[in-house]
Symmetry: C2
Subunit: 419 residues, 2 copies
């Protein structure tokens, strides 16, 4: 079945807010196996909203609208949706009671809040519609059905929309679905997007069910295998040989096949498995590598210490980088990265240390050492690997890439240390 | 003039990413005085994309598309847009050279990166289109004009889209506008969104030209004053009294009136002005504060050292937090935050140190010390201020808020130290 999203609100069109509802509802639809072809944002103008909802209802089975259910004059989503579906508005006594109750409760805490005539508009519903109680506000959600078409209206505030969707809309939509959709993630690091694409060109050319879709992230490529079938087991059976083939082709470069596992989580898991502790010694990345590692819940099991040694003095004091190294080779050099990694292990007693030094720009580059030059050293149980990288982009992009490649190198070195 | 946004990508429809490009482009259109009535997201299906672009071109003067310009088979935006505008594709030698150059640069240093046949597709452009060089990737942007209609194609990755828009598309669109639009940014920290809105309710209610639009960011609110006039000078004259009024109302909470200045830049500037050096001592934020400071170009002038002291042992060793403090009050306590800030100044000889300790979750919370509890200590010239915060959201949201509030507290304390 095909679903379509319409998010209503001038604040979206003005860029005042990022449309997280659309992302949330899209993910939920994907999880439900609903295909989403279009998402539209529109303001609170009656003609344009009418046209948008009409188009959506014509080309999709289920239209999910969010926003514009409030009590003000601008909130016209319900009226327009009712008109498109050919329903008149009638008062719903249950909703009227709930609104009364909501304000009764509120006025105990905040006596200045008064119920206004506008609020009663929210008790009017399209005839025959299913009312979705709002646990966190006054505007109820609505499901309007007519023939093969369904229109679902949800309030705009995410803290009202999400619980309403999870508790009431998700089970409703799940029952409507004839097919099961299963998707399988394959996350790859250390190979660029076009190289990955070239390596699976034949698979993508021949695909129908399952499909493979590549998503390029900074320094990573994610491949999503998606299969449709009559049952969960059948869909998984379709995915299995494709997953096996991708594993054959990308081998060790696959760092995860779990939907939610990040590269830093894979690294933390690996460190935990090997019973190793980690120290990060960062110059140009300024703590961003540590921050990514620490964003993993439970990172404290493996993360020993982080140093942001931006100055030469700090590199010497905390990482035992030699004065002569800094003088002869400079702070951005293979030798400095090596000593940072080694010194980090030594001073903290960690099993593993990554040292990063580079020129993130925009200033500080020379013809010899241009902006984007980064050295990453990795010391694992005394064995040190150093690699030289040349990244493109602005300051924050260079730093972001340095962090991803540091995680990739770290993963490589730990894997190698035990092979 | 009416602009319309079309963001392309299955990853948007599947909810894999939040559509920040749409929010960015909407804000830029508002800044340019362009009216946006519709925003659509569509996948990489030729028929649906064709229909979407056609509809957009019919009802709007300017259509801005983002995404689907990459080198993979999925990337069809350019072909479809060219078809809608009735243009054939021809090779652009300039773009071909740039792609060659990009890979030459890349492959000298990273021999594993190979140029593939796919990459050359990116050198094909609709006949007569204006090519927008991509400083951060291989896919060029394009401006296609035909009669009264303009279609602008931008790459999907935000770090490619934003600089391209700012440097090349913004001035182009500005020239197309019959009226001069001037906007003035006012960036506020330390006051919540609804409080800011309440404080300017009367101004917003009575506004027509200039207008004030609030943009809520994590821990910050940005207000954009926008005026339309026949000349630059006239528009600025309209803005002046509104800016003065906002300065009166928000005072010291305004950290910048420059469009591009970030909170961390304001803090670095302040430290530089006062000739002060900074050390960051982070626990739950794991280096994210240091990373934000170091992302400011020239931060080395003021940034002395960063410590990520996740363990009690590290807090004692590098920040001289007392064993008894950790034992009696715990690692997440006012007293620990205070000692971290003080110890960081002492061991490094910095004038200023921020210490952050908290519970980012999802584990580790108790009824006494729930997830989201964060203490931030700030030591400036020996004077220490500690504040307690209670943040909502998931692990990364809590850490992000902790970083912004640390920057805000840091700014407050430095300002106060000289008053």
């Amino acid at each position: 079945m095909v679903a379509e999203l319409v998010t209503v609100g001038t604040e979206i069109l003005l860029g005042n807010i990022v449309n997280t509802n659309a992302a949330y509802l899209s993910e939920m639809c994907a999880k439900l196996g609903l295909t989403v072809y279009y998402e539209t944002s529109v303001g609170d103008n009656p003609e344009r909203m009418l046209q948008t909802i009409q188009t959506a209802v014509e080309r999709s089975d289920i239209v999910i609208l969010s926003g514009g259910l409030g009590p003000t004059k601008d909130d016209i989503t319900k009226d327009i949706a009712a008109r498109v579906m050919g329903k008149e508005l009638v008062e719903d006594p249950h909703t009227r009671d709930r609104i009364q109750q909501y304000f009764d409760n509120l006025s105990i805490k905040r006596p200045e809040v008064k119920i206004t005539e506008n609020n009663w508009c929210q008790a009017m519903i399209p005839k025959g519609a299913v009312v979705l109680d709002n646990e966190n506000g006054t505007a109820p959600g609505l499901i309007i059905e007519e023939g093969e078409k369904t229109v679902i209206l949800l309030p705009g505030p995410p803290n009202e929309l999400k619980p309403m969707f999870e508790r009431q809309v998700y089970p409703y939509l799940q029952e409507k679905q004839p097919e099961v959709i299963v998707s399988q993630m394959v996350k790859i690091c250390g190979i660029g997007e076009s190289m990955v694409e070239t390596m699976i060109e034949d698979l993508i050319d021949g695909q129908s069910n399952p499909t493979i879709a590549p998503y390029a992230k900074t320094g990573e490529v994610h491949l999503r295998i998606t299969a449709k079938a009559k049952s969960n087991g059948e869909a998984k059976k379709l995915i299995k040989p494709v997953l096996r083939e991708l594993k054959l082709r990308f081998g060790k470069n696959i760092y995860a096949t779990e939907e939610k596992k990040s590269l830093e989580e894979a690294v933390v898991d690996l460190l935990r498995d090997k019973n190793m502790t980690l120290t990060c010694a960062e110059s140009c990345t300024g703590g961003a590598l540590s921050a990514r590692i620490v964003n993993v819940s439970g990172a404290s099991d493996v993360f020993k210490q982080g140093f942001v040694t931006y100055s030469n003095k700090a590199k010497r004091k905390y990482l035992m980088v030699k004065k002569s190294t800094l003088k002869m080779y400079g702070a951005v050099s293979e030798k400095t990265a090596k000593e940072m990694a080694k010194g980090g292990c030594f001073t903290t007693g960690s099993d593993v240390c990554v040292g990063i030094t580079g020129i993130a720009g925009p200033g500080g580059g020379t013809s010899d050492k241009p902006v984007g030059l980064v050295y990453i050293g990795c010391c694992v149980d005394g064995h040190i690997t150093v690699r030289e990288y040349h990244f493109n982009g602005n300051r924050s992009k260079i730093r972001e890439q340095a962090v991803v490649y540091a995680l990739t190198l770290l993963r490589d070195c730990i894997l190698q240390s035990y092979s």
